[in-house]
């Protein structure tokens, strides 16, 4: 039974991973990614990591992929990938490198056996304690300080995301942002004619216009 579940989801995980690489459209790649992430969550359940399986579904398949889809759809960058190679022979070399990496990993997995002292941080199986409680006990005793640091990391990430994703950087007003939305061909466009490419409008810091000239 466990073998059947394992085989089915192993095929799903590898198929989803292949879909991420092979899909022409980013949306399809994101949906294939969900398949792989969910299959990995099933593997976590099979290996007794129940809490991590739940977190995997909620954080990865839920939040992160949704964030990817938001970015894809809000920016409208769902055009198909261009398939020409700027570097000649990059793809065969990349595939060759991937196969070599896989062979090396298999070799290492074949040669080495994981030894080490078992249950350094507490056993997974001894006693009748559920997985969540074991994880929490280790997290809030042995790893309390790293756990607190992760909260600082998340705050820094949020602040950084806001700073990076704001339009035009610091000092931009709402009027500037409306200005950026106007296409160069548009008659409302003040910056001038067709000799300016769209980049000239889209880079806010490059062509600073005095505030009086703006609409």
């Amino acid at each position: 039974m466990e073998w059947a579940v394992f085989v089915v989801f192993a095929v799903a995980a590898i198929g989803g991973a292949g879909g991420v690489v092979l899909a022409r459209k980013p949306v399809h790649a994101a949906l294939s990614l969900v398949l792989t992430l969910f299959s990995v969550a099933v593997f976590f359940v099979l290996e007794g990591a129940h809490f991590l399986a739940a977190v995997q579904v909620i954080v990865y398949a839920g939040a992160i992929v949704i964030l990817f889809l938001f970015v894809i759809m809000l920016l409208g960058i769902d055009q198909e990938d261009v398939l020409d190679e700027p570097l000649r022979g990059q793809r065969p070399v990349a595939i060759l490198a991937g196969v070599a990496l896989f062979a090396g990993l298999l070799l290492v997995a074949k040669i080495l056996q994981p030894t080490g002292a078992p249950a350094q941080r507490g056993s997974l199986t001894q006693g009748d304690v559920p997985n969540v409680e074991r994880l929490a006990r280790s997290l809030f005793t042995d790893f309390l300080w790293p756990f607190e640091i992760t909260s600082a990391l998340l705050v820094i990430a949020v602040v950084g995301a806001i700073v990076l994703a704001r339009r035009g950087g610091p000092g931009t007003t709402l009027d500037d942002e409306r200005e950026m939305d106007i296409e160069p061909g548009d008659p409302r466009h003040v910056g001038g004619g067709s000799d300016e490419g769209p980049e000239a409008v889209l880079i806010p810091g490059d062509t600073p216009e005095p505030p009086g000239e703006q609409e």
Binding site: E47, A97, P114, G160
Partner: protein
């Protein structure tokens, strides 16, 4: 717990990791490259959980927890960078982001 030996999980993780690595090298859309990084991170998480089971140690699972947090922060920052890059130049490929001539 389960009668599937750990070596099989490690093999699947190795396959996913290599597919992610090849995708990172082959694809040129920055978003898809980012998804390939996520694939590689997930493969590593799977190895951590498998080794935690093989060694009967909860520490591997705690490490996966921290990897998840760091991956979430990384996705937030990376997507913000991609958003600001896509807003400034229309191109969707990594080759267009060559301002530093790297």
């Amino acid at each position: 717990m389960t009668n599937v030996p750990g070596a099989w999980y490690l093999t699947v993780a190795a396959v996913i990791f290599c597919i992610g690595a090849v995708g990172l090298l082959v694809r040129r859309n920055a978003l898809v490259m980012f998804m390939c990084v996520e694939l590689m991170l997930n493969a590593v998480n799977l190895t951590f959980v498998t080794f935690a089971r093989m060694l009967d140690d909860i520490g591997g699972q705690v490490f996966v927890f921290f990897t998840l947090v760091v991956a979430a922060a990384e996705v937030v920052i990376g997507l913000a960078l991609i958003v600001s890059i896509f807003r400034r130049r229309q191109g969707a490929t990594a080759d267009d982001i060559s301002l530093l001539r790297g």
